[in-house]
């Protein structure tokens, strides 16, 4: 195509003419667009949308992964089983408790750390690097590390408790301490991520607002409560949702540190799904559990989007 022709077609394309047959140029553009998008969209459809459909379908079947061909349609039986037997309810309950515990501790601590790091500090960069180390460390290494830290007889934490005169704790082998231990570990692992998000939010708060309020006689606390925190409500909501969705999908600690125990006290839902599908070979029931988990996560994301759209738009 010559340069002259191209200028002509470009200028023709600038005028929008809907409902007219596509020009040769437009057809060519479409073809190029398909070429650029096809690889991405193909993988997206195969590995995100197809599994979604497969999961929805299989939640109505009874089958095993070892022999998927021998499947049996059972209607809503898998969902009825979830209500009838208490494994699903308990596992979801434990998972919600876990997520709630993580969010309840991560939010205030990450926020406090972000405020601290946003002020003039010696060694600010070093502190920021330190709190980010667990974020880039894998969940496997973190879980391994913490199962040794929390070991009842030779763990570092019990060694430290000895020094300050507190009796040794069983931690992961206790039905009451196992879940709080996992929450503490997740807090250590994720608080840096929350801090980075809050820091990004804090940098968007104009400092003049606080300074003006201070001149008018407001205390630091008043500035924090009445200016900084309201301005960060969107960031906070986002961190809450990220941490909730992340916690609901936690797997490695339950798999590596407690095997869901003791007495299923840490039987987090993704670990339960893994066990049901790959160990107990009840893939249909596992699919039904996955559908419920998916709906829970979708509901949380929807609420987030609705809130972000409607309110708190400063």
């Amino acid at each position: 195509m010559s340069t002259g022709e191209q200028i002509l077609t470009v200028s023709a394309g600038a005028k929008t003419r809907p409902r007219k047959a596509a020009t040769r140029r437009q057809k060519q553009e479409r073809l190029v667009a398909v070429g650029f998008l096809a690889p991405f969209m193909l993988l997206l459809l195969i590995f995100q949308y197809v599994p979604l459909l497969v999961m929805a379908r299989n939640s109505f079947y009874d089958y095993s992964l070892l022999n998927p061909a021998a499947e049996k349609f059972v209607g809503l039986r898998n969902f009825a089983d979830m209500i009838e037997y208490d494994d699903a309810g308990r596992s979801f309950g434990i998972t919600f408790l876990f997520a709630f515990g993580v969010v309840a501790f991560v939010i205030p601590i990450a926020f406090a750390l972000a405020l601290f790091l946003n002020s003039k500090l010696p060694a600010r960069g070093l502190v920021r690097t330190m709190i980010m180390l667990p974020v880039v460390t894998s969940s496997v290494v973190t879980a391994t590390m913490w199962s040794f830290l929390l070991d009842p007889s030779n763990g570092l934490i019990n060694g430290a408790l000895d020094i300050v005169g507190i009796t040794r704790q069983p931690f992961l082998t206790s039905t009451t301490q196992a879940l709080p231990s996992l929450i503490a570990m997740t807090l250590w692992q994720q608080v840096g991520f929350g801090t980075i998000l809050f820091l990004a939010g804090l940098q968007g708060v104009p400092s003049e607002l606080g300074e003006a309020a201070r001149i008018d006689g407001a205390t630091r606390w008043q500035v924090l409560w009445n200016i900084t925190i309201p301005l960060l409500s969107r960031t906070t909501l986002f961190v809450v949702v990220i941490m909730t969705v992340f916690s609901l999908q936690t797997f490695a600690p339950a798999f590596l540190m407690t095997q869901g125990g003791p007495q299923e006290a840490t039987n987090l839902i993704v670990y339960h799904i893994y066990n049901t599908a790959f160990i107990m070979q009840q893939a249909g029931y596992a699919s039904a559990l996955s559908v419920v988990l998916l709906l829970v996560v979708l509901a949380i994301s929807m609420v987030q989007m609705a809130l972000l759209r409607s309110r708190w738009n400063y």
């Binding site: 070093l126 060694g159 960031t235 990220i242 490695a252 893994y274």
Partner: protein, 281 residues
């Protein structure tokens, strides 16, 4: 006035030291203990002494037996192959798709965009059972390709690059188009060279994600020869059933050090990418 300032500075320093101790102590203990024999590891913890965090009388025997006894070297190599492949294909496919969505006008663009947007909401890790069936149905179970392929079309990557492409001024491209350059040439020789920072950021985040992934590789690969590093580490055992803690610590150190080094060198990009994922998500 003066004493309050001194007190305040002292308090700040104490908080800083406390934070550093909280986050650094576990790493120091693991790395130091990986260089000790079992007897010393236990002895330094009960009663706890400063020696727990310092490799006094270091020995590399844990590392020697780790590399001799287990297939960790193979696992490291597999992980490197998967990570590099995943980074390369993610960058290529995401940038191509981002180019189409920002530079080419075509009907149905917003439908395509909605399809991508929706996948952001899917808790894909929680969908491992159907994903396992899809990937093994394609004959990709027990392969390195099977480990990486589901994550290549990354909606996060697309959004990061789409944002960058939109911010890039189009004057240069307009000039090139008038000179007769097609989309392929504009993409490779004008757009890509001008979005290096977001590309590096996406590459790093993808590498981190891939290196640390666990549940999916655990599910899709059973063949020990195709195992990746996190699964290899996970199968070393728990504190109570282990003859030697030091060897597990050596494994954890080997699995973590490459990423921490990468993070320390390129921290700016990591933090930027994570903050972006926060703001744009």
């Amino acid at each position: 006035m003066r004493t309050t300032r001194i007190r305040r500075t002292a308090l700040t320093l104490v908080i800083i030291l406390l934070i550093i101790a909280c986050f650094l102590a576990p790493y120091a203990w693991v790395v130091a203990s990986s260089l000790k024999n079992q007897f010393t590891v236990f002895g330094d913890v009960t009663p706890l002494s400063w020696r727990a965090f310092v490799p006094v009388g270091a020995t590399i025997e844990n590392y020697v037996s780790l590399f001799e006894r287990t297939n960790i070297l193979r696992a490291l190599l597999n992980t490197a192959i998967v990570a590099i492949g995943q980074v390369a294909f993610t960058l290529l496919l995401c940038s191509m798709a981002a180019y189409a969505l920002t530079r080419i006008k075509f009907p149905g663009a917003h439908i395509v965009f909605m399809l991508i947007l929706l996948t952001f909401l899917l808790p894909i890790e929680a969908m491992m059972v159907p994903l396992y069936q899809v990937v093994s149905g394609l004959g990709l179970s027990n392969t390195l390709v099977g480990i990486m392929i589901p994550w290549i079309a990354s909606p996060f990557g697309l959004f990061l690059l789409k944002q960058a492409f939109e911010e890039l001024p189009t004057e240069l491209e307009d000039a090139a188009r008038i000179d007769g350059a097609g989309h392929v040439r504009i993409f490779f020789s004008i757009v890509l060279p001008n979005v290096k920072v977001p590309m590096v950021t996406l590459g790093l985040i993808t590498f981190l994600f891939c290196w640390n992934s666990f549940l999916w590789p655990l599910v899709i690969v059973q063949d020990p020869a195709r195992q990746i590093i996190q699964v290899a580490i996970a199968q070393q055992g728990s504190p109570t059933q282990l003859p030697n803690w030091g060897e597990t610590f050596a494994g954890a150190t080997v699995a973590t050090v490459p990423l921490i080094l990468l993070f320390l060198v390129l921290q700016k990009y990591f933090t930027q990418g994570m903050a972006t994922s926060g703001i744009k998500g």
